[in-house]
């Protein structure tokens, strides 16, 4: 895929992230490759343990022992980030790439005012006067939909509601005009009505500021309404990728197809949902070959070999028995 992209903003190639545990080495991210263009929104979808969040952390170099990036490369604008000394990584984090987490209290310091925290976030990367920093902070807060932004700068995090706190976290991520924001399930803990507000604002922000975004989520519907491209992860690997609407309409991988089919919206009320059997495998004893094979209705002897990445235009999948190939022809 990266071949078709002339000048990718972020290029991840064969990224491997491992954790040393008592039970042995756990490979959370297994040879993940993808690229993102400037200003593009990409959805990274998977269930818990699929490696989607670890992929996000690996890009930022936020893997602490006993975890480590065991291989591959992460290039931002052509510059290699894997193996960069911590000081240089810190200069990139919050400046060129920033991150928004599911729980905003993970980023907000409860004892400092929002204004102070935003000033610190700016001061970490450039020299500005306090007045200039406040002005910029107020501007960004207003941008993410916080009413009366200037006076709210003197409030502490606990004085905001959950949805407002997440907006503040997004504002801090935007402060230094990053070229890429990694959002790890930022609306999962929020109510649907607040989620809808934030999704609408994120979409407008990405369009207006030209910021690229990796939107990590387990929810196909939010990703489909926000992202242009989708990456589906299962057991540490990207098993399908392509333009969102195309993938959701004609999923190639049986796992993607199963996820879409199991949505209540795709079944008659009261009738059984089309379920995927079994449970997500433990990363400690993955089946050899295709990790989805034991749950797959179409698996065959061939699936004992790990499927290679198949390309077709903007689409890609790792499956020996891709779905819906007839109509594509």
């Amino acid at each position: 895929m990266s071949g078709t992209m002339r000048n990718p903003l972020l290029e991840v190639t064969d990224l491997v992230t491992e954790f040393a545990t008592r039970k042995g080495i756990l490979r959370a991210v297994d040879k993940v490759s993808f690229a993102i263009e400037a200003g593009e929104i990409v959805g990274l979808v998977g269930e818990s343990g699929s490696g989607k969040s670890v992929t996000g952390f690996s890009i930022l170099g936020l893997i602490d022992p006993p975890g480590r990036i065991a291989g591959g490369s992460v290039r931002l604008g052509g510059r290699e980030l894997v193996g960069l000394p911590p000081a240089q990584l810190r200069a990139i984090r919050g400046k060129a790439i920033s991150m928004v987490f599911q729980d905003p209290s993970a980023t907000l310091n409860p004892v400092l005012t929002i204004g102070t925290q935003m000033h610190l976030a700016i001061a970490a990367h450039e020299k500005t006067s306090e007045a200039a920093a406040r002005a910029r902070a107020a501007e960004v807060l207003a941008r993410v939909g916080i009413p009366d932004a200037r006076s709210r700068l003197d409030a502490h995090p606990h004085q905001f509601s959950g949805g407002m706190r997440q907006r503040v976290a997004i504002a801090i991520a935007l402060l230094n005009r990053p070229s890429l924001i990694i959002c790890d399930e930022p609306t999962t803990a929020l109510d649907v009505s607040i989620q809808a507000q934030i999704l609408a604002e994120m979409k407008a922000l990405a369009r207006d500021l030209g910021t690229a975004m990796i939107w990590i989520s387990h929810d196909l519907a939010t990703v489909s309404s926000l992202a242009r491209r989708i990456l589906v992860m299962y057991a540490g690997r990207i098993i399908e990728q392509g333009p969102v609407a195309d993938v959701l309409r004609h999923p190639r991988h049986p796992y993607t197809a199963g996820l879409i089919a199991s949505l209540p919206a795709n079944a008659e009320p009261g009738r059984e949902l089309r379920q995927i059997p079994g449970a997500t495998p433990s990363l400690f004893d993955l089946p050899p070959g295709c990790a989805f094979a034991p749950r797959c209705a179409f698996s065959s002897a061939a699936c004992a070999q790990a499927p290679a990445l198949h390309h077709a235009g903007p689409r890609g999948w790792r499956c020996h028995h891709p779905r819906g190939m007839e109509e594509a022809r």
Partner: protein, 330 residues
């Protein structure tokens, strides 16, 4: 049809538990929170035998509290809950086994130190619903009903995945042979591919056992799929109830309308223009709910009367009941 479960004018208030020092500080004018939370405010609900009632609302709307009051876990501050005419609580303690609960988080709702088999048999044995000699076979029967092997009885909760634990929690509730199951967000903490399995299990159990259910969830898609009737809650009050399809097809309360519009839909057409019709504003604090209709601050149709008078539930013209001064006409 006479309702099986009846909640009449149920309220649940939580007064902050103040220590002596805090009480003195409050008297002296310190900003100590002394206001009472009206988690559930004068709610009446009826569930017919064999029916699945979906209870929908956003976090903090009081749906879980209402579920716990109906299940007899919390005593109501006012009003009462009856099942088949008998009160669920007596002298502040639950006095019936006919109503059982399945909780959201199967990692928290099973005692980590107790084997699965014992967890399932404990309640029925304590209430004489099962004989000790039959316990093994009974446990195996309920495990089978939820799709787990009989060997599971010998294991501890930590040896199971989330979906399997939720199956155990369901088996534990069913072993009490309840007439009604209160399910509080039973799939919210499960993976997407597992959610469908548990929803299917509920559908199967309902078919086979004729279960009555109160299904509490914030996920409108799942509630729509599983419920015969739904009730929408906002800030401690039920704003609309009706047949599921009727409510989804023609919501009468502006909040219901806005909630339905907020749910992201699966977009499979790249040309489709996605717009989010978000409700303006935030959920007001349940510590100081606005007077009159609780929704009037966020409602596009609010008039002067909405700020003063609490709308009564009204089922004008044979339509489903709604608590709104200016119900939507579609």
């Amino acid at each position: 049809m006479t309702p099986l479960v009846l909640a009449q004018n149920v309220s649940k208030r939580f007064a902050p538990r103040l220590g002596l020092g805090e009480r003195i500080a409050a008297k002296l004018g310190s900003p100590v929170e002394t206001r009472t939370v009206h988690a559930v405010d004068n709610v009446s609900l009826a569930i017919a035998k064999g029916e699945v009632l979906g209870l929908v609302g956003e976090s903090g709307c009081g749906k879980s509290t209402l579920g716990r009051v109906i299940a007899g876990i919390h005593p109501p501050s006012a009003g009462q809950v009856t099942i088949g005419g008998e009160s669920v609580m007596r002298e502040g303690r639950k006095s019936t086994t006919r109503i059982q609960t399945v909780f959201q988080d199967p990692f928290a709702s099973l005692d980590p130190r107790i084997r699965i088999g014992e967890a399932i048999a404990e309640g029925p044995l304590a209430h004489g619903l099962m004989r000790k000699a039959d316990a093994r076979a009974e446990v195996a029967r309920w495990l089978d009903a939820v799709g787990l092997p009989a060997e599971a009885a010998e294991r501890f909760p930590h040896q199971f995945s989330g979906g399997q634990r939720q199956r155990v929690a369901i088996a534990r509730a069913l072993a009490m042979q309840p007439d009604i199951l209160v399910c509080d967000e039973p799939v919210a903490s499960l993976d997407v591919s597992i959610q469908a399995q548990i929803v299917n299990l509920f559908l199967k159990l309902r078919r086979e056992l004729g279960l009555t259910m109160l299904f509490i969830s914030h996920d409108l898609g799942i509630v729509r799929h599983i419920s015969d009737r739904i009730a929408i809650m906002y800030l401690g009050r039920i704003v609309e109830t009706g047949e599921t399809e009727a409510v989804f097809a023609a919501p009468r309360h502006p909040y219901t309308r806005a909630l339905l519009d907020s749910v992201p839909k699966l977009v499979t057409d790249s040309e489709e223009l996605v717009s989010f019709k978000a409700i303006a504003g935030e959920l007001p604090s349940p510590l100081s709910p606005p007077p009159g209709c609780h929704f009037h601050l966020r409602c596009p149709h609010a008039q002067a009367v909405c700020r003063e008078i609490v709308p009564a539930s009204d089922s004008q013209g044979g339509m489903h009941p709604v608590a709104c001064h200016f119900p939507l006409i579609s």
